[in-house]
């Protein structure tokens, strides 16, 4: 038995089985939750590459799986990331059951995660680009439920993600071609530009991000949230892994400066557009862009505290987007429009969902006591000490996003003229309250949670050992 079989092959196989069971939504959803939780527990408990004693049975969990001469490697360094990604999936699949998501969500969701883990595990790196593209293709049925017309946002998601793949493959060919000293010196900066373009398209970096608000607006927010939570986080980890493997990239201060400036541009533009946004589901898209901007900012710092802040920022990011998507999903399921013209009485109809929505948005904008605050504060302090000229722009973007959230708050508290019926179900309220509780717990006791998540940086060991 090898680790890639457990964390890649089994989820793919189970995804196919769940596809056969797709009309039994509760069974397929329950299996997806159970399997994801089990895989997260196994990732936490089973050391890879060491002999394991289980009762009277002794076995060793191998690191590699060979397919057509190429290997999929999962080592102990990847285990914290596996715990994070499969725990996240278990939570999203549980939420999907509560929100009664469509029948293809669980089967394809499971295959999406397996493909992402495969992308992180495959060696050499250039194959990761192909697996990310497969992930994108597998996420199409998650985003477009059967019976619905495909919208422009999904089409553009597919187009932009597909356009990114060739750039990564070309850059992977240059950087993965053995000894870089034998490559013509002029080629390396060009390859770095190509690599940057590829990641810019994948991560929906400015100016390639206009499809993100379109996607969150035109598809079910919960499906969009699932894809936009897992995909960018995994791509960021892939990027770190790649930079970690290529010494020439690690040693390039210019590259990290460009990453930082791109992050600033994303935070500023997302914040400014968010301030003028009248549609909450589009604001969700700008929240994703803002989070990616902050992630790039912390990576661009290129020091240990910066990388730690990047890793620590993943938890509030995933939690904030989950609660936001869940709250918007509750509204969407009851055909409640989310533009400012239809907000009157919404708080009476969906009190818990509205509180959760506002708290999630405040957390993303870095409000004190909420999950996003400690990481935002620390990241801004680090940035201010390294790039004092940029901090004003970042604060402007953050302030713009906060303005957008305050506008949401002002609209959702408008009470209806007559008494309104509460339309939320008990399970929806329960999971929303749970999400809000964690938003506060992460904000009040950040050390407890963030110290465990920073171990995911082991994915890029060379990057850290050099700092």
């Amino acid at each position: 038995m090898t680790a890639p079989i457990i964390w890649i092959v089994i989820p793919v196989g189970m995804g196919l089985i769940l596809w056969l069971l797709r009309h039994r939504r509760w069974i397929s959803g329950g299996i997806a939750v159970g399997l994801s939780a089990l895989l997260a527990v196994l990732a936490a408990a089973l050391p890879i590459g060491e002999t394991i004693q289980l009762g009277g049975v002794q076995f060793e969990l191998g690191e590699s799986l060979f397919v057509l001469g190429r290997s999929f490697n999962l080592t102990n360094n990847e285990r914290p990331f596996l715990v994070l990604i499969f725990t996240t999936c278990a939570v999203w699949f549980a939420g999907a059951m509560v929100l009664k998501q469509h029948r293809l969500f669980a089967p394809f969701g499971l295959m999406v995660v397996a493909a992402l883990v495969g992308a992180l595990a495959v060696q050499p790196f250039l194959y990761a680009a192909l697996l990310v593209e497969l992930t994108v293709l597998l996420s199409i049925p998650v985003l477009v439920p059967p019976g619905e017309v495909v919208q422009r946002g999904v089409q553009r998601f597919l187009i932009f993600q597909t356009l990114g793949m060739p750039f990564i493959l070309l850059a992977g060919w240059v950087f993965g071609s053995g000894d870089l000293l034998q490559v013509a010196p002029a080629i390396l900066p060009r390859a770095a530009v190509i690599l940057g373009l590829g990641f810019a398209l994948w991560l929906a970096v400015f100016p390639f991000y206009f499809w993100v608000p379109q996607l969150t607006h035109q598809t079910h927010p919960y499906s969009a949230g699932f894809v936009l939570s897992l995909l960018p986080v995994s791509i960021l980890m892939l990027g770190l892994d790649f930079v970690s493997q290529v010494g020439w990239l690690r040693a390039s201060p210019l590259m990290f400066l460009i990453i930082q400036l791109t992050g600033v541009l994303m935070v500023v533009t997302a914040g400014v557009w968010a301030a003028f946004q009248d549609e909450i589901s589009r604001l969700f898209g700008y929240a994703v862009i803002l989070e990616s901007g902050y992630a790039l900012l912390t990576i661009g710092l290129n020091n240990l505290p910066g990388y730690m802040m990047f890793a620590a920022g993943l938890l509030p990011r995933l939690l904030g987007l989950f609660v936001l998507a869940l709250a918007l999903g509750v509204l969407k399921n009851r055909a409640q429009p989310t533009d400012f013209d239809h907000m009157q009485g919404i708080f009476q109809r969906f009190p818990v969902a509205i509180i959760a929505l506002v708290l999630a948005l405040f957390s993303i904008s870095g409000m004190p006591l909420l999950a996003g605050f400690p990481v935002r504060l620390e990241s801004l302090e680090l940035l201010a000490s390294q790039q004092p000229l940029l901090i004003g722009w970042v604060l402007l973007g953050n302030f713009g996003f906060l303005m957008g959230v305050i506008r949401v708050l002002l609209h959702v508290v408008r009470l209806g003229d007559a008494a309104e019926e509460n339309l939320e179900s008990l399970p929806e309220r329960a999971i929303l309250v749970g999400g809000m509780l964690f938003l506060f717990l992460f904000g009040i006791f950040p050390g407890v949670f963030y110290q465990s998540v920073i171990f995911i940086l082991r994915v890029a060991p060379a990057l850290l050992s050099a700092r």
């Binding site: 057509l68 019976g147 017309v149």
Partner: protein, 191 residues
């Protein structure tokens, strides 16, 4: 005229066909021609078996799309003469751009000239198709064209069986995703 010019001409013609004629039958025919051109050029660098994989997978993806469009029972929206003239000029401009950037591309990517020429033509043709349509069938054809262009260039750089296999899987995936886009509204409602 060398033998390598014929597939390039085939690719240019198929690109014009794909952009000018919007009916799914014309598109399928042009796509089939396009993959013949791709096969012809790639067979110069990759073993015939691997090059044939690209031909067959491309045809299969096109067939999946056409079958879905046929199942839907709706004709694609047609274009008037003015639209065709506009798209024709855009494509002419695209071909000029492909030949203009060819010398610079040769500096960046060390592959055979004919592969690079054909690849660039298809890359630009794919981008033009993607930019000019919102129709799921046309969009999928545009993505397949773009990917075919890239695969031609990449075949000159990497000749791994796994890469060819995964790219084939991606082409089929694009065909299936396009098919899902086309048929999704007519599928049974979820839940």
């Amino acid at each position: 005229m060398s033998l390598q010019t014929i597939p390039i001409i085939l690719l240019i013609l198929s690109s014009f066909f794909l952009v000018l004629f919007l009916g799914w039958r014309y598109a399928l025919l042009a796509l089939a021609l396009q993959y013949v051109g791709v096969f012809w050029l790639i067979a110069q660098t990759l073993p015939i078996g691997l090059a044939a994989v690209k031909l067959i997978v491309g045809w299969m993806a096109g067939a999946v799309l056409a079958a879905s469009q046929l199942n839907l029972g709706e004709e694609l929206p047609v274009s008037d003469l003015a639209g065709r003239i506009f798209r024709g000029f855009v494509m002419i401009f695209g071909i000029i751009v492909a030949f203009s950037i060819l010398p610079a591309a040769e500096q960046w990517i060390p592959v055979e000239r004919s592969l690079l020429t054909g690849g660039l033509i298809l890359l630009i043709s794919g981008l033009i198709q993607l930019g000019l349509t919102g129709n799921p069938f046309r969009l999928s054809i545009g993505l397949l064209t773009f990917l075919a262009g890239f695969e031609m260039i990449y075949a000159g750089l990497v000749s791994s069986v796994l890469v060819v296999g995964l790219l084939g899987l991606i082409n089929l995936g694009v065909g299936l995703a396009g098919s899902y886009f086309i048929l999704s509204p007519s599928l049974e409602e979820s839940n």
